[in-house]
């Protein structure tokens, strides 16, 4: 683009003074020649640009990479080393979340790879269901395998029952980290304007269950929200559903029932907490529950989300959310202000050394 612009400027710069000066016929011919030359150069640059772009986005030959149960077909442009990192990274992301049986029946296919069919057929993998990973052929977009892991996690989430599908955050929280994403979840809890969120922050386990939508409430909008909270969410919004604006009007003019009915049309989120706090709960279960707790919970189909997570971790939902709350608010369970032997010991040792140094000081010698 820069080269093309430069050429255009050069061409115009070369012709404009000639035109302004109303030069004789010979001058016009020279200018025309210059313009023709510039145009031909522009065409060459455009062809080169187009070719380089085509090569960038052109389908590359497919290569299969495997790590454990994770199989991915990536373009050869990715490179062998990066390909191996991608599948091993994806496996690490999915470990303890998606069962191996599911993974071993699928193959993640990155975009822009040609000959996928033949490559899979050659390895007897063509019977596996294909999951498209939303990546480009550029190696840096593959990152550390997150794109492949997220695609497989999304595919797995679609196979779960309706309770899970209605609750789960995107891509089963794959890639969510406390260090990077925890502050956003804490901010959401601290800035929530729902009563359940406020009480959760203040330490109410029941309120945390409501805020996170862990209970199987018959009407989540009456159980998890107060009418005025629904009203706040509705005010100033436009709902393109038949009859919704009438309900919105009734709601904003004081009808609590209309607020609930409008929300029940599916126009407002049934869970007050956003994706980041929900993701943090899944990551907490995965990191602090027994081995495979999250995978077991996801395979469970009985009861509410809270019951399933509680059964998988071997605790009550209340204990689970109480542990999650402290873990999240303290950035991974870093202890509050402490004054145990562990804290005091370095002070005593270092203090004694300093005192010894002071006693043996050579100032008076």
């Amino acid at each position: 683009m820069c080269r093309r612009g430069l050429l255009l400027i050069l061409a115009l710069g070369g012709t404009a003074p000639v035109a302004r000066a109303q030069a004789p016929r010979g001058g016009v011919a020279v200018a025309r020649a210059k313009l023709a030359r510039a145009e031909s150069l522009l065409a060459v640059v455009a062809r080169r640009d187009s070719a380089s772009r085509q090569s960038l986005y052109a389908a590359r030959r497919a290569v299969i990479y495997e790590a454990g149960a994770v199989t991915a077909v990536l373009p050869d442009a990715v490179g062998r080393e990066t390909g191996r990192l991608v599948v091993s990274g994806a496996r690490r992301y999915l470990d303890g979340v998606v069962p191996e049986q599911f993974l071993s029946a699928r193959v993640a296919v990155a975009y822009a790879a040609t000959g996928v069919d033949s490559v899979l057929r050659a390895r007897n993998l063509d019977a596996r269901a294909r999951v498209m990973a939303d990546v480009t052929p550029r190696p840096d977009s593959l990152s550390d395998g997150w794109a492949v892991a997220a695609a497989l996690a999304r595919a797995y989430a679609e196979t779960l029952d309706s309770t899970w599908r209605a609750w789960l955050p995107p891509a089963l929280a794959v890639g969510w980290t406390l260090k990077r994403d925890g502050p956003a979840a804490v901010r959401e809890l601290m800035r929530t304007d729902t009563r359940s969120g406020a009480d959760c922050l203040a330490g109410g386990a029941g309120a945390c269950r409501l805020w996170l939508g862990l209970d199987a409430d018959a009407n989540p909008y009456t159980a998890r929200y107060r009418p005025e909270e629904l009203r706040r969410m509705i005010v100033g919004r436009w709902f393109a559903v038949n009859g919704a604006m009438d309900l919105a009007h009734q709601c904003t003019t004081g009808s609590d029932d209309a607020c609930v009915r409008l929300a029940s049309l599916g126009l407002l989120p049934p869970v007050p907490a956003g994706a980041s706090p929900l993701s943090s709960l899944l990551v907490f279960v995965r990191a602090h529950g027994p081995a495979g707790a999250l995978a077991r919970a996801l395979q469970d189909t009985r009861g509410s989300v809270g019951d399933r997570l509680g059964r998988a971790t071997g605790t009550s939902p209340d204990s689970l959310v109480a542990g999650w709350r402290i873990w999240l608010l303290t950035g991974g369970g870093q202890p509050r202000v402490t004054a145990g032997w562990r804290d005091v010991l370095p002070v005593l040792v270092f203090g004694a050394l300093l005192l010894l140094a002071a006693v043996r000081s050579g100032r008076w010698r």
Binding site: L201, G203, A339, V347, L354, S361, R363
Partner: protein, 219 residues
Amino acid sequence: MYRQILHTLWSALRLPVVLLAVLAFAVPLLTVTYGGSLADAPAGRVAEWLFAAQQIGVLIPGLALLVGLLLGIGTWMHDHAGKHVYALSLPVSRERYVLLRFAAGGTLLLVPVAALAAGSLIAVASVSLPSGIHAYPVPLVVRFFFASLLCYAVFFAISISTRRAALAVLGAICGVLFADLLLAAIGVEATVTPTVFMWLTNWPGPLSILIGRWALFDV
């Protein structure tokens, strides 16, 4: 003899000690200026309150540093002024005299610690906390005492050290900074200062007690 040294020190340092005590008393009370009842407070208020407790908590290790600095240097102030003639004229060994000085200064250190304890207890008594937020006055005060003691020991030792020892400490600090400059100049992507800082402040580093959570109210 300890009592005489303590009396002398108190006479010389009572003004800064009282000022430090006032500061130590006030810091925990700042935490509760947001209000006394959090029972039915909206989330924003609880969050602000927790945030304020953490922000004010950051002042407490700073206060410990100040206490240690003033007492550590103040303990030797008169001896330095008198060229240590008085200490040398006393019929006690040099080691015993240093220990007595340290103990006397350490006793004065208890005044701001007691003030912090009083301020913390009053702050805790003046609020009604929700079930998930707790007060930690005792760990806070104990931690403050040991942090102050550490800072006091550092400045006490520096004050009585020889000029050569003081220069060695200063040289070490400058050396670390110079090493960073040198590495940056030759284009090496390595830093010494953060590594040394981490070593000093991460457990079991000697300054680890100054780092960490210091909030009077926490989850």
